[in-house]
Amino acid sequence: MPLDLIESFRNPKHIKALAQEIKKECKSKINIMEVCGGHTHTIMKYGLPQILPDLIEFIHGPGCPVCVMPKERIDHAIALASMDDTILATLGDMIRVPGSKTSLQKLRAEGRDVRSLYSPLDVIKIAKENPDKKVIFFAIGFETTTPMSAVLLEQTIKLGIKNLYFHINHVLVPEPVEAIVSGGDSKIDAFLGPSHVSVITGYGIFEPIVKKYKTPIVVAGFEPVDVMEAVLMTVRQFNENRVEVENQYKRAVSKEGNIKAQNLINRYMCKRDHFRWRGLGDIANSALKLRSEYAEFDAEIVFDEILPKEQIDDHKLCICGDILKGNAKPFDCKVFGKACTPNSPMGSCMVSSEGACAAYYKYGKFIGKGMR
């Protein structure tokens, strides 16, 4: 990774200049939802609300794939990992998230074989090295990680691997964004569009939402200069009475996106009728599943008998739904930082480091602006 791709987008002079410009140009209150957890992380880690005018308020969106996973899906992972002669592999901090009774991490401590991967393709190696075991890939992520799962299935078929199964939890960005903005009770004026998701989907995918709900979306990169520039672009849309999809993350995102990756996804996966989002509830067509012709690889079909079917809601004190819609901040929650912490999360926004509550817990305790 060439370092000027990091350092030049963290240049203090540029960040300060952008802050000045935003201060000068911003004339009215703008509530901006950053859809992606990566943006929440950037905003909090670099303390951006402290250098932005009060008129700009960030509302932290649902773009953290670990956070939005309902407990019943985590219980699926736990039921699968509890089968004999089974290896369950997944990504990131999914392993830490508690289901209704336990977590994959605890299950691993009890002796079950649960692996945390850095690259999904490592699953091929695991499946080959353990031909007498069932290997289950618990796939999570938005459009960014979905092509990797598709490649994994392609390779599984090509190599004739028979002991690898997929539990698909891939979710989509436009549908929950539409669900939030169409809800009526949201106070969102504009969106920061996701960076890496847009690399795959292209920024064109957001055009229908912008037109239908008259809400600007600026697709932004993950570095502080990216976010500051995207905020300035948003402010200018308001000043100039424009409502558009704009692309700040030009170094990686095109209008069409990665067509090859999109085709790969479409070959192996299709939309589910419904998916229940933790914190947001049921959203139509908002997630993917394997196409029926690949049923023999689909862990939800092959192991259907042992998978729990009951829906499990979060504790009634949890206000993650309101936080995700922009109607409340983590500090408004009675259990934030007390009964609900990253080590024992009660709601979706605390479970992964990219969730709004976890970001506030880690970075937001500094007494200052934007930490209300």
Binding site: P12, C36, Y46, G47, Q50, G92, D93, I95, D122, V197
Partner: protein, 335 residues
């Protein structure tokens, strides 16, 4: 011809054990006290103030860029003694070896231990060897304990007060990033080297030059973040550091970027944090920068009374955040 491997009988206490000790350990560690082969080493010390510490080393992989478990076991214990302003003198060393461990690897490790001992001049005066059945340990574990004579009294984590200066002796995060990159599930091909090093020569020079050291700690597990938080808590002060003054290698920044970590939470094995009174930082830096291993030493921030028990990281564009103790298992971000 197949390679020579360590067998269970070499840990049984009999003839094979004895020849392993003589052929390998005595060859590299020999000194008068050790060669007496008594049940315990008998030592005479001039000072009545002694620093005494112990540490066990289980690093995986055993060999890494810039060192190995043996070098680490010597430098680690020597550094712990040095951090109390004490001159490291005598060490004990126990090996727990997994049956089947390659003899040539063990020799490489022991040889690097003897080389690392020369940096401080400390001696291994007692030791123990156990060989355990395959699967009981992961290759090799080493424990070292050591004592030193306190030359500079009063260094403590309780000493920090308003206006004191904080110095870091080197780039932070190199060891942690280096180990992470070598883990088999990541396998990153980078040129990064662990900072693994004995720090006694730098401490000795600081003491000799009369630099007033208030607190001193090597930033091992939990990294810079852990040391600063421990100090802030122990002395009940705020420590404010400037992010742009903390030296971090480009490769470490790259790994952190890719996997979602912070360099301040990564372990170091030859990097220390110093607290000196205001005005003393230039003198301390001048001494440290004479040495190759600490030539990147940097004055990173100061102690204030702003809050109790807090560490604040100031960004170069005017925002701030708390730097907190790392929590939980190190897991990568996924998007």
């Amino acid at each position: 011809m197949s390679k020579k491997r360590i067998t269970l009988s070499q840990g049984g206490g009999g003839e094979e054990t004895s020849s392993l000790i003589k052929e390998l350990f005595f060859k590299y560690f020999k000194n008068e006290t050790l060669l007496k082969m008594e049940d315990a080493a008998v030592l005479s010390l001039k000072s009545d103030k002694i620093a005494f510490t112990t540490d066990s080393f289980t690093v995986s992989p055993i060999f890494f860029n810039g060192g190995n478990i043996g070098k680490l076991a010597i430098a680690g214990t020597i550094n712990d003694i040095s951090m109390m302003g004490a001159k490291p003198l005598y060490l004990t060393c126990s090996f727990m070896i997994e049956e089947g461990f390659l003899y040539e690897d063990l020799e490489r490790i022991v040889k690097s231990m003897s080389e690392e001992l020369k940096v401080s001049g400390a001696l291994i005066v007692a030791g123990d060897t156990k060989v355990v059945p395959k699967g009981s340990v992961d290759g090799l574990f080493i424990n070292t304990s050591g004592i030193g004579e306190v030359l500079k009294d009063g260094i403590s984590a309780h000493n920090l007060c308003d206006t004191d200066s904080i110095i870091v002796s080197n780039e932070v995060g190199n060891h942690g990033a280096c180990i992470l990159a070598k883990r088999e599930d990541i396998e990153l091909d980078i040129k990064l080297k662990s900072d693994c090093a004995t720090l006694w020569p730098m401490i000795e020079a600081l003491i000799e030059q009369g630099v007033e050291i208030k607190s001193l700690r090597d930033a091992t597990r939990g990294g810079l973040s852990a040391v600063l938080n421990e100090w802030a808590e122990t002395s009940n002060v705020t420590i404010e550091v400037d992010e742009d003054k903390i030296p971090v290698a480009d490769e470490v920044k790259g790994i952190c970027e890719m996997l979602g970590f912070e360099p301040y939470e990564f372990a170091n094995e030859g990097t220390m944090i110093l607290c000196v009174p205001k005005g003393e930082e230039a003198k301390a830096l001048e001494v440290l920068q004479r040495f190759e291993k600490t030539k990147k030493a940097s004055f990173i921030g100061k102690v204030t009374n702003r809050y109790e028990n807090r560490v604040i990281l100031n960004t170069p564009w005017g925002s701030s955040r708390y730097l907190e103790l790392p929590k939980g298992e190190l897991l990568p971000r996924i998007c």
